[in-house]
Structure formats: C-alpha cells, structure tokens
C-alpha cells in the first residue's frame, strides 16, 4: 500500500488515503481488489497524473478525454482476472451491505445515508474517471461496468440504481463530454467524492419515446436554457448535477445542468425504485451546457443506459432464483418439498435458462460497444428480451412463494415491483 501511496502523490492523495483507511475495505476483503486496480492505474498513469496536477493548479483546460477501444478476435467468455476480482467484490458488497439495507430503504422510501460513505469507500467513481484525472479507466470497460451492475443488483435493484447514478454520469461525461464540460466536471468529480449526479431523461407520456421530447432547449448566447418537465429522476432532490435530454431545434440533445433555483422538484413515488426517491423535475429557463461534442450519439447514450438496467435486471433475477430455490426446497406440501413437483421445478429451470439468455445478449452488446463497433441492434434486442423475461421471472418468483410471496415478509414482492422498471426506464444510468 505504501508504494502505491507514494506513487499517487499529490492530486487525489487525500481521497486515496481516506479510502485506504476505511474499515469497510478490510471487513469486505475488498482491499486486495482496490489495491490491484489502483496499482494498475499508478503503473500506467503515473506520468499523466502529475501533469494533470499541474494543469489543474494553473487553471488551464484539460485536453478532451476519450478512452480507447478494446480490440478482439476470438470468441471468448472468459473474464479477465480484474473482472473476476471486481465481480467477487461487488457480489460480496451486494450480499453484505446492500441486501440488509434493501427492505427498509424500500419501505421508508429513503436512500440510506451510509451508502454514500460506502460508495466513496469503494471508490466507484475512480472506475469511471480516466487515468489523467486520477481514475483507473485506461480503456472503455463497458463489459466490466455491466458486470458490476449485475453483481450489485443481486443485493438490490433500487439501491444499485442509486449507487451507480453518479458513476454513470461520470461515464457519460468521460465518453461524450466536450473539452469544456470535461474540464469543468471531471476535475470536479475527481476532487470531490461527495458530488452527486443523476439523469433527467424520462418524461410523463404514455409509451414514452425518448426521441420525441416535450422538454425544449433554446440557445442563449454562450449557453442554453431548458424548459420542461422530467419524471422518474432518481435521487433528483439531492443531486448536484443533472444530465438532461431536451429538444434543440427538432434534434434531441443532452445537456448538463447544475442544481439551482430555476429547478423545482416534486416527490413522485412509483411502483418500485422507491429507495431512489424518484422525483419530477421542472426546469424553468434553467441555464445549461451541451454535454456532447461532434462525436455525440444520442442513441448510443440511451443504449449504454439501457444496458445497465438490463444487467441490473439479470442480477435481480439471479436473486429471485436463489431465493426461490431455497424456498421451494424448504417448503413442504403433500408430504414433500414443493421443489419435487415439476410445475415448480420447471419454473426454476426456466429462470435459469432465461437468465443465461439475457446475459448473453447484454454481454454481446457491451463487448461490441467497448470494441468501438456498432451495437445498437444488439442493445435494442437485449432491452426487448430483458424487459419481457425479467418480468416473467419476477412474477414467477412471487408465484412460487404463493401468498407468502405477496407479503413484505419476503423480498420477492419488492423485486417484482422493481423489475417492472426494466421495460419503462430509458437512460437514467450509463455504462
């Protein structure tokens, strides 16, 4: 650890030290995982790191960051050593931190305060930040990001969504941000681990079409003004920064907005996602900057969000299956476990089949995306399949538990409500 700290001198040092001192790391045996990631970054990014420090101090612009693509040849489902480690760590975090918090968070409709500290301790933002800004992202890691979302969602769907919203905004800024936006915001995220951000894309129209927005943007000198209303904004009341989609002269664009008094929020609890404290936001001549540059692709922006929701749906379906397996083996009827009945057992077999099926589509799309290839068709099909199959698993999960599944004694009813979001939400996260 000392070696690493020496190397990571200067910029970001205080944050790293804080992370390093966390008891949670040891508790969850995450230290090795984090050290490895940081070691990789310090190895590769040491030079750039000190340069950035200088630039920041002089208040100059950073150069526009774009993470390089990965290149691939053979069909390969192996996880890298780092991906394995990340998955194990996230899985453990899911079962030991998220799952125990989930019931109350849903019940009280409050995102638990302590999760912010855990999120800082985990150093989630560092996975999204490029090396030049003290992060560990050396190339596009879309597969790793969706795997992370999937593992976390085994603990809880809503908490994962809330936990990953800031991370997702940083991903989006790193991928799409103009030099101006990156200069202002990436450095801010690197500096302040408590900065919170979220997306405002969804609007309250039936059969919502993310390409036809009622929210409008107008040009106003060197910036833009946003007018309109958004819904299902996760953690919208407490966020400092929003990525807002709006119609600009007939074309859909995404803007970055700082929280200010032109925005009004209204609580808007939904069927699920309760822990994310969803709100409606009203923008009234809200000043905004355009997020993107010449290479901005709104469809890919949406797809990379949808893939995260799909991955979370798979993770939650894994939790449903695990819970149902245990229940069906313990619950007896007519003198033997209900799992001895094909009508029950086949529901569980179908869960296993469709979980694997969903995962294949997500990984294919994510893998294409990080290698710089077109992945829209694959993401489209993944969303379609995940929306249907994850809800089927959600409803079968309640069915297997019967009347017990209908009560809050068991988590299956929460998963049922949360999984419905997979087909509904557009954007909201970003891989």
């Amino acid at each position: 650890m000392n070696n690493m700290v020496n190397k990571a001198q200067g910029f970001g040092l205080s944050i790293l030290t804080k992370v390093a001192g966390s008891d949670l790391l040891d508790q969850l045996k995450l230290r090795k995982f984090l050290e490895k990631s940081l070691y990789q970054s310090s190895k590769a990014g040491f030079k750039t790191l000190s340069q950035t420090q200088k630039i920041l101090k002089s208040g100059q612009k950073i150069q526009r960051q774009r993470l390089p693509h990965q290149s691939k040849s053979l069909f390969d489902l192996n996880l890298t050593e780092e991906q394995q480690m990340t998955c194990e760590a996230m899985q453990q975090f899911a079962s030991e931190v998220l799952y125990p918090l989930a019931h109350d968070a849903d019940h009280h409709e409050i995102f638990p305060e302590e999760l912010w500290q855990y999120s800082t301790d985990l150093g989630l933002n560092f996975y999204a930040l490029p090396e030049a800004l003290g992060g560990v992202a050396a190339e596009q890691n879309i597969v790793s990001n969706v795997l992370m979302a999937q593992q976390l969602a085994q603990g809880d769907f809503s908490l994962t969504a809330g936990l990953l919203s800031t991370f997702s905004v940083i991903n989006a800024i790193t991928r799409w941000g103009s030099e101006q936006v990156q200069t202002e915001y990436l450095t801010a995220f690197a500096d302040d681990p408590h900065l919170k951000a979220t997306f405002a894309v969804q609007e309250a129209t039936a059969a919502f079409n993310p390409y036809q927005l009622k929210t409008k943007a107008t040009s106003n000198g060197d910036h833009y003004l946003i007018n309109g209303e958004k819904t299902l904004v996760m953690l919208g009341e407490t966020a400092d920064i929003y990525l807002v989609s709006a119609d600009l002269n007939g074309k859909t664009e995404v803007f970055i907005v700082q929280r200010n008094n032109t925005i009004t929020a209204q609580k808007s609890p939904a069927m699920g996602l309760k822990a994310t404290q969803t709100v409606n936001l009203k923008f009234n001549n809200t000043p905004a900057q355009r997020l993107g540059d010449d290479d901005f692709d709104y469809t890919a922006f949406l797809d990379l969000g949808n893939l995260m929701w799909c991955a979370m749906a798979v993770g939650t379906c894994e939790a449903v299956k695990k819970y149902c397996v245990q229940y069906a083996n313990e619950r007896t009827a007519f003198g033997e476990p209900i799992s001895h009945r094909q009508s029950v057992a086949f529901m569980i077999a179908d869960m296993a089949i469709e979980i694997d099926a969903m995962q294949m589509l997500i990984l294919n799309a994510a893998s294409l995306a990080e290698s710089g290839q077109d992945f829209h068709r694959e993401a489209y099909l993944a969303r379609l399949l995940c929306a249907e199959k994850s809800m089927k698993i959600g409803t079968d999960g309640v069915q297997i538990l019967g009347g017990h599944g209908f009560t809050k004694e068991h988590p299956v009813e929460r998963w049922y409500r949360d999984l419905r979001a997979t087909a509904i939400v557009h954007s909201g996260l970003h891989a």
Partner: protein, 399 residues
C-alpha cells in the same frame, strides 16, 4: 470478452452458407415430397466436406466431434464451435438434408467421443448412425432392454431399436445395449454394428411430420453377433462412472442440435423479415412501443433467436475449452429447441395463407422444427436436468 463469430471461421461459414443456398435449398422441397428417396446430390457434397475436414478446422456438417485435445489452457475456438457454426448454415438450407449427410451421423460423434485409438482407426471414414430409443423407452434411456451377451470373442445383441436416423443408409449403427439389465445404467454400453451383419434387420422406415429427407429406421437385432472389439470404450461395469460416460456424448451433441434449431429458424426469420420489410426499421431506430404489431412480434422473435444462438455458442465454446458444460448444453438445447419451434410456427401464422401454402418453404420449416425440440432430449428432459442442478435434487427426488 467477445461474442462475435471468430474471424478465422468466416470462410467456413460463408462456404456453408453458399452450400445451403445453392445445393440444399434447390432440392429441399423435392426430398420433402419424395420421402425415403436417397438424396444422391449429397454424395458429391459429402466428398467436398470430407476434403475440407482434412484441414484442421473443417466443415463438420454433422456431428463428428472429438473431445480430446491438448492440455493448453489458452482460449480456444475449436472444432465444437466450427461444427456448430457450419450446422447453423446447413440447416438454414435444409435440416433434413443436413441430417442425411453421409459420414456425419450421430454415431460418428459417439465414436469420436468414446472410442479407443484402435477403434478410431478401424472406424475411420465410416458413416455411423445412432440407435438408442426403443419402443418401450424414449427419454428414459437407462431403461434400455436391448441386451448384449458375451460369447467367446463376440457379443450377441438382441432387441429392437426405433428412430434411428439414417439407420438404413449408414455403414454402421452404434447400438446402446445393456450387459446386465439388473445393473441398471452402469451396464449400458455402445456397440458398433456394421451394416449387413446377420441378425440385424431394417424393419421399416417411418413416415414423418418433417425432416422427411432424413430416413428414420426401425431396426431389429436377433442373435446379432459382433466382435467384442466393437464395444466402444471400456467393457467393465463401473457403477460410479460408466453411464455418465455415455451421457457425456450429449454434452457435445446437444449444442449441435441447438445449432440445427438456430439454422432452421434463421431461415423462417429471414423470410418473414423479407415479406414484411416495409413494416420493419432496418436501423432499429423505432422504439419498441412505437412499432407496429407485426414488427413487434418479429423483433421479439429476433431477440429470442439471438439469445439462443449465443447460448448455443457458449455451450460449444465451453466444450472446446474443456469446461464442464452439461448445464449449458441443456440450456442451449432447451432454449433453441423451443424458440425454433415457436419462431417457425409464428412465421407461418404471420404470413397467413402464404406461410401455410407449399409454394413457400415456411410451412416446411415449421414441420421440420418440431423434431428439434424432441430428439437428443426433449424440452421437458432438458428442463428436468436443469432443474435438478439448480435445486440440487436427484432423479429419484425430482422425477
């Protein structure tokens, strides 16, 4: 992580695709009509395939897959995957004709999987069919009643086998028989019975719903004497291992049957997209809720198909990399079998009379696909296998 077809198999896939379009499709309806007629056009094709197989990664049109290989740990895309990929294209041409390809029978897979070196050499180049099912046992292959009794240097087979694909056309049949009925599964062994062996008789050829180009034979064995050296693998009855060994063949062959289902339904899906091209958005830019009902149904089928295709490749990839894949092989077979049947039937429904009429092949593909959810383990058998694994149950608990 990469789930795209490897570039090194592109030529192979393209070749198989051309064969499907130019050799199989033109005779597809002919042999659907002329059930039991031998598709002589395949002889030439089979020679071409044999020639390709001389190379390292050939176009195994059927199922001749060997699990053995080097112990190198690096990621491999091998013969399981190349075979699966070429089967997809061939069945896109015609599933019945793929099943009729000389020297590419399921028996060849069994030989490749369990034969010893001497047997591998002796049976090299033959066309071997597979005989498992009996009138009284289908999915319950442990209940096989055909007997093999040792007599000097020979075994004497007695029993009746049905549903033997290419049973009449093949050079030999790999027959599953029990050395001792009392010992259950462990005593089941497979035997290579050459065509024309006295005591082996083709009783009849079935008339079927689909895959009519492929012959399905019922064969009787009455005091059929074969050399003891034709028993594949080991003769000892090992209660712990033996049947598992026989079942292991399925880990390699189920992904290939899944590949057949992917190919067959690919044909229907492609045709229906052509028919309804005016309703579809080739760029997938219309959000799902904004598409027409027809388009929504087609996109849904496409998503199911893609997921099944990738599950099939996953199972084949695991076999290539010698990762235990029983679970994934069953998942691939279950998913591909059911979606192929669903897709081909739905395409007939969407095309209405055009789909139902023999002027198109859509109705044929809908008949062909049904067997793919039945043979090599029915949908329900796959679900049982998967459920037992998920629930940690034995076959006596979860029946």
């Amino acid at each position: 992580m990469n789930l795209q077809n490897p570039k090194k198999f592109k030529l192979l896939i393209d070749q198989a695709h051309e064969v499907a379009l130019n050799v199989l499709r033109p005779i597809s309806r002919k042999y659907d009509k002329a059930e039991h007629a031998y598709p002589k056009e395949l002889d030439m094709l089979a020679s071409v395939v044999d020639g390709m197989n001389q190379g390292s990664e050939g176009m195994n049109a059927g199922a001749a897959v060997n699990k053995r290989g080097d112990s190198d740990e690096s990621n491999k895309n091998g013969v399981n995957m190349s075979t699966a990929l070429s089967i997809v294209e061939m069945c896109y041409g015609d599933t019945g004709l793929l099943l009729s390809m000389p020297r590419q029978g399921l028996g060849n897979s069994a030989i490749a999987a369990v034969a010893n070196d001497e047997q591998l050499q002796r049976f090299h180049g033959i066309w071997a069919a597979m005989a498992i099912t009996e009138p009284g046992c289908g999915s319950d292959s442990a209940a096989i009643r055909t007997t093999a009794i040792k007599d000097g240097d020979d075994y004497i087979l007695n029993g009746e086998k049905i549903f033997v694909t290419s049973g009449e056309r093949a050079d030999a049949v790999v027959v599953w028989a029990t050395l001792d009925k009392k010992l259950g599964r462990a005593a089941i062994k497979s035997f290579v019975v050459p065509k024309g062996t006295p005591g082996m008789k083709i009783e009849r050829l079935e008339h079927k719903l689909g895959i009519k180009a492929s012959d399905t034979a019922a064969i009787s064995f009455i005091d059929c004497r074969i050399p003891a050296a034709n028993l594949l693998g080991h003769a000892e009855i090992d209660v712990a291992k033996s049947f598992a060994g026989v079942m292991e063949t399925f880990d390699n062959t189920r992904p290939l049957v899944a590949a057949m289902a992917i190919g067959c339904s690919k044909a229907s899906l492609e045709r229906i997209k052509e028919i309804f091209k005016d309703q579809l958005d080739p760029e997938y830019n219309t959000p799902f809720l904004q598409t027409s009902n027809i388009a929504a149904q087609i996109y849904r089928m496409e998503a199911e198909w893609e997921s099944a295709r990738l599950l099939m490749l996953k199972a084949a990839w695991m076999a290539d990399n010698r990762k235990p894949n029983s679970r994934e092989a069953s998942i691939a077979k279950a998913k591909a079998g059911r979606i192929a049947n669903e897709i081909t039937l739905k395409c007939v429904e969407l095309a209405a009379s055009i789909g139902y009429n023999e002027a198109e092949l859509l109705e044929k593909w809908a008949r062909d696909s049904k067997i793919l959810d039945i043979f090599e383990g029915t949908q329900q058998i796959q679900q049982l296998i998967i459920a037992r694994r998920e629930l940690g149950k034995s076959s006596s608990e979860l029946k």
